[in-house]
């Protein structure tokens, strides 16, 4: 029941996000586009929550829908940008763009539904990996059997709070008693242990971005 509800919610939110994305492209007024994008990010965040990635969902809301979107709106307001003129001559371009986007979506769909176990046939990516020797043939299927994770085609595996608590170092009893899934803890553990150095380097990238933005935003001197 619970899984069915979450499934339904996913479809609802996904559809809403896609609609809003359409809105971003379709509305001529950039403020409307921005609002649509905020909604789109919100729905995406909801999808994240549905997948149990609470931390990323929150980040999506705060960073994207909050900070970035506000920045966009701020710039739009500051520059006082009017709605786009309707340009008739760009219609062919739009058609081509839609076709390209359609083809791309088709490709993704094709790849997604041909994941192992999803329908007949095999995932091209896995076949590629196997063919170049990254994976021994049949590794994925074998792994799915021995380690107990579902093939891609089937529903996603359930989250296990007990296993997570155990992975975080709790004893058997506490782990067995755990009910909530410690997503943020696990992510933080990964981030600050395995990916600590990239994380630090990323902070430099952010710093550079900040400096760059300040430098660019400065008024040009007249001399």
């Amino acid at each position: 029941m619970e899984s069915a509800i979450s499934s339904i919610l996913f479809y609802v939110f996904a559809a809403a996000a896609v609609l809003c994305a359409f809105g971003v492209v379709a509305f001529r007024n950039p403020v409307s586009s921005a609002m649509n994008m905020a909604l789109c990010f919100g729905f995406t965040a909801a999808v994240y929550f549905g997948m149990g990635a609470q931390f990323l969902g929150i980040v999506q809301l705060i960073v994207y829908a909050g900070a970035i979107l506000v920045l966009f709106l701020f710039i739009i307001m500051m520059l006082d940008i009017k709605a786009e003129e309707h340009a008739r001559k760009s219609f062919p371009l739009a058609c081509i763009a839609v076709i390209i986007a359609g083809i791309f979506a088709g490709f993704v769909t094709k790849v997604a539904i041909s994941l192992p176990g999803a329908t007949v046939g095999e995932c091209p990516a896995i076949v590629l990996c196997e063919s170049i020797g990254e994976l021994a043939p049949g590794t994925i299927a074998q792994k799915a059997e021995t380690e107990g994770f579902a093939p891609y085609g089937s529903a996603m595996p359930e989250l296990s709070p007990a296993a997570a608590a155990k992975a975080l170092g709790a004893d058997e009893a506490t782990a067995a008693a755990a009910t909530a899934f410690p997503d943020t803890k696990l992510l933080g553990q990964s981030l600050f242990t395995k990916y600590n150095i990239p994380f630090v380097i990323l902070s430099f990238a952010l710093l550079a971005g900040t400096v760059g933005a300040v430098a660019l935003g400065r008024k040009l001197r007249k001399d």
């Binding site: 996913f10 979506a105 994770f149 996603m156 760059g212």
Partner: protein
């Protein structure tokens, strides 16, 4: 529960819309928004894979870390991109991409 394929299709559609938007829209701010949307779409598939690749009920957090990094980079990118747009607006009094054709002449 929903299969992985549906998440991926959702991500792909979102990405395609973003791509179409980048091509179609003239307003460079909206183009930029569409770019952000494409990044976000990529994040969705990363999270979906992280969940599907999970072992014993624990998702693969490597993918989520990568998604987090993407968010951070996107934030920096937006900061710089918007600064560029402001600079461009100062120079050209316009945010239309058709105004950026000085190289042509």
């Amino acid at each position: 529960m929903t299969p992985l394929a549906h998440y991926l299709i959702f991500s792909g559609i979102l990405f395609s819309i973003g791509l179409a938007g980048v091509i179609i829209r003239k307003n460079i701010i909206v183009v930029f928004m569409c770019l952000e949307m494409m990044l976000s779409a990529a994040n969705i598939s990363l999270v979906a894979f992280s969940r599907a690749q999970g072992v014993n009920g624990i998702p693969m957090y490597d993918a989520q870390v990568l998604a987090l990094f993407i968010v951070a980079i996107a934030a920096a990118e937006v900061a710089i991109g918007l600064a560029l747009i402001v600079a461009m607006f100062r120079a050209r009094k316009s945010v239309e991409s058709s105004a950026l054709n000085t190289l042509k002449d």
